[in-house]
Symmetry: C2
Subunit: 146 residues, 2 copies
DNA sequence: AGTAATAAAGACCTAATTATCCTTTATTAG
DNA sequence: CTAATAAAGGATAATTAGGTCTTTATTACT
């Protein structure tokens, strides 16, 4: 569905948002530990998110990543587009060159309904909203099994 | 969503089914041409489908692939499972080790609804049914743009 | 000024997926 | 029996995704 990078990105952002009233920034190491992702790879992803202005960063001691609490909330679709591009959301389910209403693939009708449902979910849900539910203990960002 | 191999597999099977009242078998070359897929790669995929008994094959002159018209119709989910496995259908949308109702990821609730919709689609739709719509001119298996 | 902490950037590596090629085996027509 | 045909199978190449490492830039604290 989404690439691993994209999944890590969403988890990282939700974690960041979940502690964004803290004035302290959050370091890479902590993020990776809390979402159970490979540190160096997560760094790459954070770089992309930072360049796309989905997250802010500060170098140096006590530096780290943070989300601007005054900026508008981040929609999931913005994250997916930044990491995976649009093809994953709007492409044909059977791999035709494009999804087309006039030259539809055999599953177009049913599939596009589902895909639109997914796209709507991504447009409606925000990182911050999911972060609030996380803080309320309604969800988790990793499974510890050992 | 699905791997390329899986998309080719579904397209190939639909094409095969669409001409399965023809007693003649269909060669690899024709299949690949009709669904616009790389020939050798398609051969590999057909091998898998053949081993999983989703398709039959015959060697030699006038050989090729065919679908047993007396066997029960092939559900899309059987194809997806054969090529991509089950994780793509049942895994957590944010990449947690497993999708769990009791330890849900932040998007579990909304996402699993959509994923179940997709799973239902795959369970309900059959290759043969889609092939009939293809023959009725309601859909296409490739786009020619040149 | 000097040092430690931290993200940014780029080079690099590894694994999986996608794709091609070539040889072997089975089948059929003649 | 032979030649032609077509799938099966194995080896390998190319591409993409996933992941690591090293160096550089920036900042805070002494
Ligand atoms: S054409 Fe395949 S999903 Fe729309
Ligand atoms: S736990 Fe993530 S989708 Fe169910």
């Amino acid at each position: 569905m989404f690439s691993k990078a994209c999944k890590y990105a969403i988890r990282a952002l939700i974690y960041l948002a979940s502690r964004s009233e803290e004035p302290e920034k959050t370091g890479l190491r902590e993020i990776a530990a809390e979402i159970d992702s490979p540190e160096a790879f997560t760094a790459k992803i954070m770089q992309i998110l930072s360049k796309q202005n989905l997250v802010n960063s500060a170098k140096g001691p006590h530096g780290g990543f943070f989300i601007d609490t005054h900026a508008p909330e981040i929609k999931l679709i913005d994250v997916v587009k930044a990491i995976d591009g649009t093809q994953s959301i709007y492409g044909c389910g059977l791999g035709l060159k494009s999804c087309s209403e006039t030259e539809p693939c055999p599953i177009h009708h049913e599939f596009s309904a589902i895909r639109n449902g997914l796209a709507n979910l991504l447009k409606e849900q925000t990182i911050q909203q999911l972060a609030r539910e996380l803080k309320a203990g309604k969800s988790v960002l990793k499974h510890h099994l050992n």
